[in-house]
């Protein structure tokens, strides 16, 4: 198995890569003589892989001992590059070097098969902590995503880290969610005021759907704390799971509801009397029956307005 480079930051500054991945003598001997200066000779701003914007990023902060440029510079992440830097006759490929991204994953070039797992190990050798603790076995890891599937390293501003551009990165795979945010009732993602990572943590989570909190409701309460209660009179499905009535990515009905009222409520409420009655188009304005308060405007919520729970002693039925 091909040896991996060590983690950056000199050895003692930062946790190392996993045991068993120590470079062997062969690869150790193959670091360049002049470090980044060797690489930059070819990889200037006009090359196929321009890299200079990395100098505007944290990875190029030499005063931070954890930074790749404080250690082996380009070769901290890309591994020993002496062979790769050697001149080859026209028409021949350069010797391989560790590269990242889909070209690396899917290339037909047998010289360059850096698996996603290997790519990620290099990143995780520094970034295994915090919210990456749960990366292994997470849905994105199991989908074979490389860190660089979403992150761009050689740019001044990684689009996935910016509120206004992040969603576009996620939509590349989550195409249906992009369409959801064009519905009439949505959270302000298109307006750039809210983004995917306000609710989801892409590096793995203890919750389903990679939510930032352990449950759906705890996630929703981070912005909708007024619905948390506990209330004197709880509405059981509300305390259980907001998504029983709401579609968080968008709906054609107001308030992100899953369907129109009164049918939404009548899925669970069928007591004798007015809740059990079918409401038809007859009760629309101009219909054969008088316009009905059970159907129109807020429908059930015209009277039972405290659907999220009430703390009023007389709020048993959500009417106070």
């Amino acid at each position: 198995e091909e040896a991996m480079p060590k983690a950056p930051a000199a050895s003692k500054a930062q946790p190392q890569v996993k045991p068993g991945t120590t470079p062997d003598a062969r690869t150790m001997s193959a670091y360049t003589q002049k470090g980044a200066d060797t690489c930059i000779k070819c990889h200037d701003e006009d090359s196929v892989f321009p890299v200079f914007s990395i100098f505007k990023t944290r990875h190029a902060q030499t005063a931070d001992k954890r930074s790749p440029f404080a250690y082996l510079q380009c070769e901290t992440c890309h591994g020993p590059g002496a062979e790769h830097a050697k001149k080859v006759p026209p028409g021949q490929n350069q010797a391989p070097i560790i590269t990242f991204g889909p070209r690396s994953k899917l290339t037909k070039d047998k010289l360059n098969p850096v698996s996603v797992d290997k790519q990620n190990k290099i990143c995780l050798s520094c970034h295994q902590g915090d919210d990456r603790i749960n990366w292994h076995g997470s849905i994105h890891a199991n989908a074979d995503l490389a860190c660089v599937s979403c992150h761009r390293i050689h740019v001044a501003h990684d689009p996935v880290l910016s509120k206004t551009t992040q969603a576009e990165v996620c939509y590349r795979c989550h195409t249906k969610v992009r369409a959801d945010f064009y519905k009439t009732s949505v959270h302000p993602v298109r307006a750039g005021l809210l983004t995917c990572s306000d609710c989801h943590t892409p590096h793995g989570s203890s919750a389903e759907h990679l939510l930032i909190k352990p449950t759906v409701n705890q996630t929703c309460y981070t912005c909708h704390a007024e619905k948390r209660g506990p209330f004197l009179w709880e509405h059981a499905p509300v305390a259980e799971d907001c998504s029983l009535c709401h579609r968080p990515h968008g709906s054609v009905y107001p308030a992100l509801l899953t369907k129109s009222l009164p049918l939404l409520c009548q899925q669970c409420h069928s007591v004798a009397g007015h809740p059990a009655v079918a409401r038809t188009g007859d009760a629309l304005p101009g219909g054969s029956s008088p316009p009905s308060a059970f159907l129109l405007a807020g429908s059930c919520t015209n009277c039972h307005s405290q659907v999220h729970g009430s703390n009023h002693p007389s709020g048993v039925r959500g009417m106070r």
Partner: protein, 677 residues
């Protein structure tokens, strides 16, 4: 230490373009013009009013010796959606953050109300108001009606600090203070006479995060505290009864959301047993509390028995939460990965129960008292999965989930859902990647017992869908054609099909399926294009019983949504003039069909036709000066029978707000100059 000793003495990095100490940045200054008022167009972006506005954005980067830095980012300075983010410190040692955000939510400006004091917690009717038994008799309505709007605005201030204490330990603390002010609509009733009211929103939410994280070679940990404190500056909304009332019911009182708090401690641990096997464990223990003083049972002093005694003066509401997850993943052989996950979620409502006398709509003392029901929920879920690399380009995965949910005070005490799933991923090197996933789940419930305390009692045939027997099938297919000739094309298909086979009343089936395609292309060094298409159908069937026995009516919902978007970027003159555009069209249709067993008028569709077109250009005047122009057109035509044609007095027993479906056509022109320094 086995770290390689590499001689880097010749690594001068003399060609490295490290950032020099100093200040750099960019400033956008300009003006925009919005052609029309529209709350829906400006729902979140703050462009709800016709007229000019100031365009102001700024990025400032300050770099100093010794890894010290500050970044200042100002967005939308001239709009209600403005934000300022400041972060800085010394990279590798500490980081400080300060941010300020405004988030408008313009809900509607199509409403009107006769009530005075809108925006406050006491709504009164004008002295000229004529109370009546129905809206038709409210003869002063047209005189007293005044237009108003519904909107809220959040303002958030956040501060945070991160300290990198050592190579392994990092500490972070952050605090966010949010105010949310404005109005929302709320329904109210006296018996069967309803009125839609404007309720004030005046909330404060504070959130605190404190964490310590440890990153070791094989062991990582994070310990955190999260606190969230909610307070509402209003406790109740009081309003005058616009209808002729039963004795004394001249006004009513609705509770506002009570102040509440949530505190949670979390530990996350990760450990590599070996190169092949990793375990992670998360545990969160939390407590939700709510103890705001109760409002009086009624404000109607003329009711027999007034004032009514309360069993306690406040709820002393208490919910303990435990959320845990244990996961072990192991590469058993180079080709076989196994995973085991156990999830535990507990929402244990320990709120004391008491028996309450209650008054319906401040009008009628109920003969039966009610006891509050502290609903508890507990989930135990076990997930097993295996992943096998069949060939270099084919991976197969399969799994089994067992999901048990317990509930208290509800019709079903426990449900069990078992899911089997399989996934295949095939890659044709350099050409395409295909992922197919199928799952089948079966949920079984124990006994379904109608709740004894409801009067009248619930239809015994009703099955609430979150605790009903259910068969669920899920499937998805994604084909990604890989960049050939710089064109990337993807196709996707997803469906979910739920059948509630033992539910004769309630939700009986639901289905969601979507088809999508997307393409992006790098035409040449000067031009890029993208296009996406999505078709989605969401449908469901339910049954009802007007006699609260066997089903005698059915309802169907069917939503169809089509979205198409495309855009381009093109360089007309290299390093001088760039243009681009983004276009999207969404047509949605919500169809409701209710079959009541006899001829009845159908519902018109709930439609929304949305078009957005944006064209932009950037012309570089000088190296550090760019002129930017944008033209943006957006149009929405929408209908919704819930609102359309429902004026304030259309319904005899509903004094409505008269809200209408949003329709707008807005042009926005923006001109600005970007100065880089």
């Amino acid at each position: 230490d086995d770290t390689p000793k590499i001689d880097t003495s010749q690594w001068k990095c003399k060609f490295c373009a490290f950032e020099e100490p100093g200040v750099t940045g960019a400033l956008d200054i300009g003006i925009g013009y919005v052609s029309d008022d529209s709350y829906k167009f400006g729902e979140y972006n703050g462009l709800n009013e016709k007229g000019g506005y100031f365009i102001g954005n700024a990025i400032v980067r300050i770099r100093a010796e010794d890894a010290k830095y500050w970044n200042i980012d100002i967005n939308n300075a001239g709009l209600d959606s403005r934000s300022v983010n400041i972060e800085g410190g010394k990279q590798g040692s500490y980081e400080l953050k300060l941010n300020y955000d405004e988030l408008p939510h313009n809900i509607t400006d199509s409403i009107a109300t006769p009530f005075l004091g809108v925006g406050g917690s006491n709504l009164t009717l004008p002295s000229t108001w004529v109370r009546a038994g129905s809206t038709a008799g409210m003869t002063d309505l047209s005189n007293s009606l005044h237009p108003t709007d519904l909107q809220t605005k959040r303002k958030r201030v956040g501060v945070g600090a991160t300290f990198i204490a050592s190579e392994r330990w990092k500490y972070a603390v952050s605090y966010r203070h949010e105010t949310r002010e404005g109005t929302r609509a709320v329904g109210s009733a006296f018996f069967f006479n309803g009125a839609q009211l404007v309720m004030p929103v005046d909330y404060v939410t504070q959130q605190i995060d404190v964490s310590a994280s440890y990153t070791g070679n094989a062991f990582q940990a994070r310990f955190a505290y999260y606190g969230s404190l909610f307070s509402d500056n209003n406790t109740a909304l009081t309003w005058q009864n616009p209808y002729v009332s039963a004795a004394g019911a001249d006004s009513g009182q609705l509770a506002q959301p009570p102040d509440n708090a949530f505190h949670q401690l979390t530990a996350e641990l990760g450990y590599d047993f070996s190169e092949r096997t990793r375990a992670t464990a998360d545990l969160s223990i939390g407590r939700m509390t709510q103890n705001q003083d109760f409002l009086p049972v009624t404000t109607n002093t003329s009711l027999t028995g007034y004032p009514f005694a309360l069993p306690r003066s406040s709820l002393d509401g208490l919910v303990d939460t435990v959320n845990g997850k244990l996961k072990i993943t192991s590469r058993v052989t180079p080709k076989l990965n196994l995973g085991l996950t156990y999830i535990y979620n507990d929402h244990d409502d320990k709120t004391p129960q008491a028996t309450y006398t209650w008054v319906s709509t401040d009008t009628n003392v109920n003969s039966t008292t009610r006891t509050n029901l502290p609903y508890s929920f507990r989930q135990n879920k076990l997930k097993l999965e295996a992943d096998y690399q069949l060939t270099g380009n084919t991976r197969l995965s399969a799994g089994f989930d067992n999901d048990k949910n317990d509930r208290t005070y509800q019709e079903v005490s426990d449900t069990t859902e078992n899911t089997v799933w399989g996934k295949g991923k095939v890659r044709i090197p350099g050409t395409a990647e295909m992922t197919i996933k199928l799952a089948h789940a079966k949920r079984d419930i124990g006994n379904y017992e109608a709740l004894p305390w409801l009067s009248p009692e619930e239809n015994p045939l009703l099955r609430k869908y979150n605790m009903a027997d259910r068969d669920r099938d899920l499937g998805s297919l994604r084909i990604q054609l890989l960049s050939f000739n710089n064109v990337s094309v993807g196709f996707g298909f997803e469906y979910a099909n739920d059948v509630y086979s033992h539910s004769s009343v309630g939700l009986t089936a639901s289905r969601d399926f979507s088809l999508n395609a997307d393409m992006s292309a790098v035409v040449d060094a000067k031009t890029t294009l993208y296009i996406f298409l999505n078709h989605e159908e969401i449908s469901s069937q339910q049954s009802g019983s007007s006699t609260a026995t066997i089903a005698d009516w059915s309802g169907e919902n069917k939503d169809t949504i089509d979205t198409i978007g495309f855009g381009f970027k093109h360089t007309i003159i290299e390093k001088k003039l760039d243009v681009g555009g983004d276009f999207s069209i969404t047509n949605s249709q919500g169809r409701v069909i209710v079959d009541a067993g006899s001829a009845a008028a159908p519902f018109p569709d709930i439609n929304a036709d949305f078009i957005s077109a944006k064209l932009y250009a950037a012309y570089k005047l000088r190296d550090n000066l760019t002129l930017k122009g944008t033209y943006w057109y957006q149009k929405l035509d929408s209908t919704n029978w819930s609102y359309d044609g429902v004026a304030v007095d259309t319904v005899s027993n509903l004094l409505a707000l008269g809200q209408t479906s949003p329709n707008y056509s807005v042009n926005v022109v923006m001109m600005s100059v970007r100065y880089q320094f």
